[in-house]
């Protein structure tokens, strides 16, 4: 297993190196000269050529691109993500301030989605092809098809504007988190429920389930001891990918509900053409996501003996 983990670690470092390159070069996607774009954002329409030049030198845009990357990488290694090009705030400090809000939203959504998805998926698989199963799967298929921003608006319209039960935006009290978490959680649960069902059905179709039945075990024992552990293996892997979905979904949901998290920070910075902030956010999210994948891989290895113990010849 240690070999496996070491391999994962090696791979993830290559990936993170690549991620920094992508995050850095993203800036050059914007049409035109970055110095000019930033100057435009900072000083408004009536800026002079000398202002642009001063900014170019001050922010280091006059060096060749690869040198810029090396300098940026050097700072990065000291955990220095630079300063915002617009507000001059420290990027990492800014991200750190926004992190708790996003984390709260993510955890609440994850809980909601698992609470809905696992029972629905398991029930669906056990009562395969009954009306219950079919309606569950139909609802989840519709659920997968609903964009979360629309669901968010629907919830705002119903619970905030019509019933006045929850606030439609903002951050602070427990009431504030209900609608954003519900939006993100339910839209995530649809996919998880389908995966749980499919995975459990696949396991229930395996020969070792028949073999367990042949040993006289009752269905409960078979489900809990033999089926679920196997069925959850793909669900665990999936949870890693779900985390990416969570982060992506957070961008949209945070924007709708004005939730002061990293997602909203990212969108705002894109609008402001605040390159260093965008780089910082993207890099932070990607690294977080990569680390979560690593954690999932390790968890998988712990759960699955086929990886935990190498094959013996």
């Amino acid at each position: 297993m240690w070999k496996y983990i070491a391999k994962r670690l090696a791979m993830i470092s290559i990936v993170i190196a690549g991620v920094t390159l992508v995050a850095f070069s993203a800036m050059y996607l914007a049409p035109g000269d970055p110095a000019e774009v930033i100057a435009l954002a900072r000083y408004g329409e009536d800026l002079s050529a000398s202002q642009v030049e001063t900014l170019r030198v001050a922010e280091g845009f006059d060096a060749p691109v690869h040198v810029q990357y090396m300098i940026w990488l050097g700072h990065l290694l000291q955990l220095d993500l630079g300063k915002s090009l617009v507000t001059s705030e420290d990027v990492l400090t800014e991200i750190r301030q926004k992190l708790p809000a996003t984390a709260e939203l993510a955890i609440a959504s994850l809980l909601i989605s698992l609470l809905i998805a696992l029972p629905a998926g398991i029930l669906g698989a056990l009562r395969k092809n009954t009306l219950l199963d079919k309606s569950c799967m139909f609802v989840s298929l519709v659920g997968v098809s609903i964009p979360n921003f629309w669901l968010g608006l629907l919830l705002i319209w119903f619970f905030a504007l019509t019933l006045h039960m929850f606030p439609s935006y903002g951050y602070g009290s427990l009431k504030h988190i209900v609608l954003p978490a519900l939006t993100l959680g339910t839209s995530m649960s649809a996919v998880t429920a389908r995966l749980t069902r499919a995975s459990l059905l696949e396991v229930l179709g395996q020969e070792y389930i028949v073999a367990a039945r042949a040993r006289g075990f009752d269905e409960r024992t078979i489900l809990f001891r033999h089926a679920l552990k196997n069925a959850f293996l793909p669900v665990v892997t999936f949870a890693g990918m779900q985390f990416g979905y969570l982060l992506g979904g957070a961008v949209v949901v945070e924007t709708i509900f004005s939730w002061p998290g990293i997602g909203k920070l990212l969108v705002d910075s894109i609008f402001a053409m605040d390159f260093s902030m965008v780089q910082g956010c993207v890099l932070f999210i990607a690294v977080l996501f990569s680390l979560s994948s690593l954690a999932v891989d390790i968890l998988y290895a712990v759960l699955d003996p086929r990886i935990r113990y190498d094959r013996r010849d």
């Binding site: 395996q206 020969e207 070792y208 028949v210 040993r215 033999h226 196997n230 699955d304 113990y309």
Partner: protein, 337 residues
């Protein structure tokens, strides 16, 4: 003659598939006696595995079963599911085909044996594990390997684990489905000797389902031959091997390695639309005109011998086939010495 431990009476099994109704078993009547090993011989797809699973009612909901399966006086087909569970494992053990698929990949071999004791005999964890270890030793695996997972065992070793699971509760009857498939010749012999030895020692009975005539010949007391969902011949091992009455059995014997590989053309019929009359008639070299029209019944011959062939009464098979076959049979005997 001892009373039957398991008797199957006129069992019909069919599956609905998109291609039509597959009649996997038709009119199967069979008994397994106390302290007996009955070999059930047949080729891939003849319905022998279905029969084995049907005894413990392990077939899916798609299967329709008719007839009786009586074990020590209880008709298993009429039992409610809950009571059926008492028979599985405890009264009748089964080793399903392909051990690598039948063992749960995420549970260790030892714990898969131990859980049987914990569930059926209410043992504590420690005690059950100890007993599982003993069971492993019994099938020739060091008990220290109990904590290993199925993928860490070789094919032969996995089969041993299956034996340990099948016999864990000392069932009266063990159903072993192709326990030697895919194994090397040496391992094959070891495993078959092991199973038979344990079954005999416990005074249990065994239904040995296999396509391997040699293994069945070595281990079984009686042999039943199955073709296209039907039993075509039943009898004592020595009688079947030395004097087969059904042309199919005869052809099967001739096709064995080391016996000239005499070939028969054609292939087994589909179980959706089997041929009219005798199911073997299109391939049979002794066929009469009646064979393609009238479906022969399983007819009593001498003693316990039953054969599903019109010719058997007249004994014509013997005349035609005795010569080449005797040689082959003596070859088999020599080898066993």
């Amino acid at each position: 003659m001892s009373s039957p431990l398991l008797s199957i009476e006129d069992l019909n099994i069919s599956f609905k598939t998109s291609k039509g109704i597959v009649k996997a078993n038709q009119g199967i009547s069979l008994e397994v006696r106390e302290e007996e090993i009955l070999g059930l011989i047949g080729e891939t797809g003849c319905g022998k595995t279905t029969l084995g699973k049907a005894i413990l009612r392990l077939l899916s909901g798609k299967a329709t079963l008719e007839g009786k399966i009586v074990y020590r006086g209880t008709d298993l087909l009429t039992l409610p599911e809950k009571e059926m569970r008492r028979f599985r494992g405890k009264e009748i053990g089964i080793m399903l085909q392909n051990p690598s698929a039948c063992l749960n990949p995420v549970l260790s071999a030892g714990s898969q044996i131990a859980e049987i004791y914990r569930y059926h005999e209410g043992m504590g964890k420690k005690e059950a594990e100890k007993k599982a270890g003993k069971m492993l030793e019994l099938v020739g695996i060091s008990s220290s390997r109990g904590c290993e997972y199925p993928h860490q065992f070789s094919g032969g070793m996995l089969q041993r684990v299956m034996v340990a699971i099948g016999l864990a509760l000392r069932p009266g009857l063990l159903i072993a489905d192709e326990p030697t498939r895919g194994l090397d010749t040496d391992t094959k012999l070891q495993i078959s000797e092991l199973i038979a030895g344990l079954v005999r020692k416990e005074n249990s009975s065994m239904l040995l389902i296999t396509h391997d005539l040699e293994i069945a010949g070595r281990l079984a007391d009686r042999i039943a031959v199955m073709y296209a969902g039907e039993i075509v011949e039943i009898g004592k091992v020595a009688e079947i091997l030395s004097n087969p009455k059904h042309p199919y059995t005869l052809d099967l014997l001739h096709s064995l390695p080391g016996k000239g590989f005499r070939t028969v053309s054609g292939q087994p019929p589909s179980l959706v639309s089997p041929p009219s009359g005798c199911r073997y008639h299109p391939r049979c070299s002794f066929r009469l005109e009646a064979c393609s029209q009238v479906h022969p019944a399983l007819m009593g011959f001498e003693g316990e011998r039953l054969t599903r062939c019109f010719l058997s009464e007249k004994g014509r098979i013997n005349e035609t086939a005795a010569q080449p076959f005797l040689n082959a049979q003596s070859a088999l005997k020599c080898e066993e010495e």
